[in-house]
């Protein structure tokens, strides 16, 4: 591998990794409070992308119940993004109501919640297909320009280029502009969530609920409301992630978000379950691992990600940033 290619691949790795990371942030948030995996997160991510698409006022395709339908109004893309994310947060709250809360009330096994969230994911994906078909959708080509409105002065002629050329090496390293946005957004969300969880009373309460909901309620914490809030946040973050990734690769059908589920899971486990910085670090490590597979072994790329995961777990069973906790006897 030439040094230029090496640096390019490092950049690629960070770019891929930030997609994994941004997916995983909302995912790990729920783990950090409930200690369970929400398999419907992929579906919420997908919904965020579809909601935003809908809010831009573009018509659906010819398949599905809503064939050729569109909203009577159309929102400026950044507003549509916000709306899509809010709706995704709302759906996430509904998911909590349907699949999580009743089970929590009945003291069910946490694996059962995992399975029932999976059931919801299946249902949502198929509802999407039923309504708008299996085809791909895309945002208006002005989307990137619109969300970077405050930064347009940075670019010559006020137009966002598709890719940045970083003249570190010759030829320059190329980074797609969308990826820069995704990277920056994940770092921003990372900081915000870290502050929320470590720096605020609500964050302390979240950790308490994660550990022992009954005891937390004895301290006056309204566990239901806190969990609902966490789900909203997770859905909101997931929705934003869905839109950004949708801008990067198109909304490639109802399975759009589900496809990230497995990698996302690997990422949060690698980073350490429930650790917000871990989600980002895990994403970047797996992204780098994948990008640095030598060209002739590219067929084994996916195996490499999982081999890295396997080996790291053998050395650090709690993941990279996970905390070990040995219960004293």
């Amino acid at each position: 591998m030439t040094t230029n290619l090496f640096f390019q691949q490092v950049a690629n790795g960070l770019a891929i990794g930030s997609v994994y990371a941004i997916f995983a942030l909302g995912y790990t948030l729920i783990f950090s409070i409930l200690g369970i995996i929400n398999f419907a997160h992929g579906a919420v991510f997908t919904l965020g992308a579809y909601f935003t698409f809908t809010l831009t006022g573009t018509a659906f395709g010819f398949n599905g119940l809503l064939a050729q339908q569109k909203l009577p109004f159309s929102l400026w893309f950044p507003l549509a993004l916000l709306g899509g994310a809010l709706l995704a947060g709302l759906i996430s709250v509904i998911i909590e109501r349907l699949a999580f809360r009743p089970l929590r009330r009945r003291g069910a096994d946490s694996l059962l919640t995992l399975v029932s969230s999976l059931g919801l994911a299946v249902a949502i994906v198929n509802i999407i297909q039923f309504l708008v078909g299996a085809e791909a959708y895309s945002y208006p080509s002005s989307a990137l320009n619109d969300i970077l409105t405050p930064f347009l002065f940075l670019f010559p002629d006020g137009k966002v280029p598709l890719a940045l050329r970083v003249p570190l090496t010759e030829p320059p390293i190329i980074v797609r502009m969308v990826q820069v946005v995704i990277f920056a957004t994940s770092i921003f969300i990372l900081i915000a969530l870290t502050y929320l969880i470590n720096g605020t009373k609500v964050g302390k309460a979240m950790r308490a609920v994660a550990e022992d909901a009954t005891t937390s309620s004895l301290l006056g914490i309204s566990t239901d409301r806190l969990i609902q809030f966490t789900f909203f946040l997770s859905g909101f973050v997931g929705g934003i992630a869905g839109v950004l990734v949708g801008m990067s690769v198109g909304i490639t059908g109802p399975y759009f978000g589900i496809a990230f589920g497995l990698k996302g899971l690997a990422v949060i486990v690698l980073g350490g379950l429930g650790s917000i910085p871990g989600a980002v670090l895990g994403g970047l490590v797996i992204g780098l691992g994948e990008a640095l597979v030598p060209a002739e072994y590219i067929g084994y790329k996916d195996a490499v990600a999982f081999a890295v995961l396997f080996i790291v777990l053998l050395i650090r069973p709690q993941g990279l940033l996970g905390r070990v906790f040995i219960q004293k006897v």
């Binding site: 089970l103 096994d109 399975v115 999976l118 299946v122 899971l265 195996a303 999982f306 396997f310």
Partner: protein, 317 residues
Amino acid sequence: MDFFSTYGFLIVSMLFQAMLGLSLYIPLMTGQLSLASPGFYALGGYIAAILSTTVFLPEGGGKWESGTFPIIYVLIETVLAGLASALLALLIGFPSLRLRGIYLALATIAFVEIVRVLSLNLEITGKAIGIFGVPQPFINKFDYVVLALPLLIASAWFVYRLERSRVGRAFTALREDELAAAAMGVNPTTNKVLAFVLGAVLAGMVGAISAHFLNTWNARQGTFDVSILVLAYVIIGGSRTFLGPILGGLLLTALPEVLRAIAGIQGLPLFLSQFLLDGRLIIYGLLIVVAPLFYPQGLITPDLFKRRAVKTKEAGA
């Protein structure tokens, strides 16, 4: 008979899936959430598919006529698949059993993914296309019941007895509290590895027969999706008695086909039958969400039998 030619395949599939459920349940008895079963299932399938298309050829070469492949070969493949799975399970079992909960689940999924990627890249596994034209010991799919049913009964009986035996008790103790179990003299490592290997052997054997049953084998068999599906069998069915995964496997496999059959009933309003077809998976998904509300410990729990036992005792007295 018409019923068996239509539903024979489904019935036998249900039996296979029930066994996969059991294969995940065995390690879960010790509290290990291992999702490795599909990896061993895939391995077993490849062993059978490769042997039957390259080694166990008819005299004078050529292809086996449909229905003429000797059952004894299938049995040999099944045993070999079980052995190979056992060896591999030992190899990956020891290091990975330090992990717990979701971490272990993910390590085992990593194994499943690695198996998949390997089979997409290797010549011997036929890459994306896989291995096809796997010879048939039977003409009718339903006839596979002569292999599947005894295997299911044997493995169910095995697990049933296991649960009540000394080793099974040690398994359950590990699930409840590993540290306390160790302090009571139960060796965590050997027992966990044992459970892991037993589950792997069952999955491998099921894979071997399935390769014949499906006519073909490829990297799409035994993937992450299957891991999750099989987990659903165990959890929906009930994870504290061997009957849970069996029931879960039978029901969840049958469910989409049952919905399909309902849609086919004459006289349903068109929109409804259309929705039952197109929205089959919506209903399937929602049922998975709803079932746990009514059966938070799974459909079958050990208490179910106890309560009944108490009742009958009272009735007798």
